[in-house]
Symmetry: C2
């Protein structure tokens, strides 16, 4: 069973895979995933190479764990957290730990090996976004799970261990550190001004236009003012909404269009970089809140991040977000 | 002039190099620094290839900016922050910015190209640690500079842009985010219990011994309980001391021995990995404080960190720190 441990100074939780007993040298070589569809467990026809599916969008008449699907959710074969067991929160002197209870699922976005997420028709992307929501709605019934973290690693340099396009959902019994910080900062702002800080940011970004990439009826994409990374891009719903899983069906089509267009613009502007995205949303165990606003953070992996940067939280970004926004606005997709 | 910008939600500051106007594609290729001593600006005899030296440890009779030195401090040729000018703190709507005033220096640890820091005799390492201190003492006279961040990138994968072993010092007009979080967490602990949390950690680590690597008279090296990375190792002075620059001469020799031994043990255990280290110390503009304790954090770059991890602050560490400590204790150096 993995273990969650809390740094006593900062309060940050870390997942420690305590049961593995590899030799140190096993960690020296970062394996490069095989390329191409042969032996890919995520391709159509290889359904039995994965754990049995949890959910899928299927053609009428097709059977679970066989071909005929458009998108498919499976448990991660090598989960970071385990669904079984109790949290068993305990102290160890001044330290705090709990069992690594949670869930780790994989969303296979298409049966095709040769396409990235942004290559799919917007309507297929809408279905993936719909699946994200349905998994959160299903898993929040388990009251041990406090947070659902949706993310995507696209490309080996972005941490993808399989080439076939997929996203992941990690359900945790605590709120991840950086999300907790965002919520805390947003709460301070709200307590002082009575407004959601993200709603204020949206208003200022639309007003100035300098960092805007896409401005649609219900969603905007822009480069954040204090972007940590070149071409870091956020997507937010314009109307205040604290929880991703509360996003109405009627909005998912436009969100799919904005996400696809943003990813394509980044592809064109920066020669198809590896990237990550994360969905920051509110904890599952609180109702709608006025001070936090769900959003996508897209991070192209262009510059090499030195340990300095993760060690200090002090990022050096060589591309002003205003310049990045101009390139992205001008990119024809 | 670079610009410091504050993320309005979390309060994190970012350095934005606003004056550069590269094309996006310039960021696609991460240049690999040339290998070997030919044309290395940090080698003995190439002193005129660098900006003029700020400080150096020299043989009697040798002239500045010529051969005959053991360690040398120079301004970074491509500084992240600039020493000239005023901070000019300003708002931009809800955002906050200031000029990127600061300093960025390079400490060349040896004239020899073929050695890493840990290969140097302990007495030479002691001199490097002494230089760290002297630079902080000198730069803190500039009251615009609030924090001095000493760090080392060793190896290309750890972000080193030159092969020749060196450390860096970035002086900032703000306290870096993660250091600020540590200080804040330590302050909360102190306010509640009246003790330094790091002193408590030292006591518990010596008591249990499970994560101890080196236990000398004045310093210990251990794997932190909630280590984010495999073989992450911290070095702390046993007696409470808030500021690195207040470390007495009489302690620097033992610190050099512990740092050298720790780095060598990591080299032997994990096949000479790239690594970073950071010195976390108290802000320069406060006197000795009871709640914060300076320390080294050494981070071998073994696993690939996915954007997920920097995007969320939620780290997954596949090597329990107790196992890593056992390997390091057993490593013969």
């Amino acid at each position: 069973m993995p273990e969650l441990r809390k740094d006593p100074v900062t309060g940050r939780w870390v997942i420690i895979a305590v049961e593995r007993t590899k030799r140190p040298d096993d960690f020296r070589v970062v394996p490069t995933p095989p390329r191409g569809p042969s032996s890919c467990p995520f391709c159509e026809g290889s359904e039995t190479s994965t754990p049995p599916e949890i959910a899928a969008l299927r053609e009428p008449g097709s059977a679970p764990n066989g071909p005929g699907w458009r998108a498919r959710v499976i448990p991660n074969k090598f989960p970071s957290l385990m669904i079984e067991g109790e949290l068993d929160k305990r102290g160890e002197g001044i330290y705090d730990r709990m069992n690594g209870v949670g869930a780790h699922e994989v969303i296979i976005e298409t049966p095709r090996h040769d396409l990235g997420l942004a290559d799919l028709p917007a309507d297929r992307i809408r279905e993936v976004l719909w699946l994200y929501r349905e998994r959160l709605l299903d898993l929040r019934k388990d009251h041990r799970l406090i947070y659902g973290l949706l993310f995507k690693n696209a490309g080996v340099q972005a941490g993808a261990s399989l080439e076939h396009t997929h996203s992941q959902l990690i359900m945790t019994p605590i709120v991840p550190f950086r999300v907790a910080q965002e919520i805390q900062g947003a709460k301070l702002f709200f307590d002082y001004r009575g407004r959601c800080i993200f709603c204020d940011i949206i208003q200022q970004e639309i007003g100035s236009g300098d960092r805007l990439v896409i401005n649609e009826k219900n969603f905007i994409a822009f480069e954040p003012y204090a972007a940590r990374f070149p071409f870091e891009t956020w997507i937010l719903p314009k109307r205040h909404l604290s929880h991703y899983e509360a996003t109405d069906d009627s909005l998912l089509g436009e969100l799919a269009f904005v996400l696809k267009t943003t990813l394509k613009k980044i592809e064109v502007s920066v020669s198809n970089p590896p990237y990550n995205y994360l969905v920051h949303t509110s904890p599952l165990n609180v109702g709608p809140i006025e001070h936090y606003h769900w959003h996508f953070e897209i991070i192209p992996r262009i510059t090499r991040v030195a340990g300095f940067e993760w060690g200090t939280g002090f990022y050096i970004n060589p591309v002003p977000p205003e310049n990045a926004a101009r390139y992205l606005r001008d990119a024809v997709v």
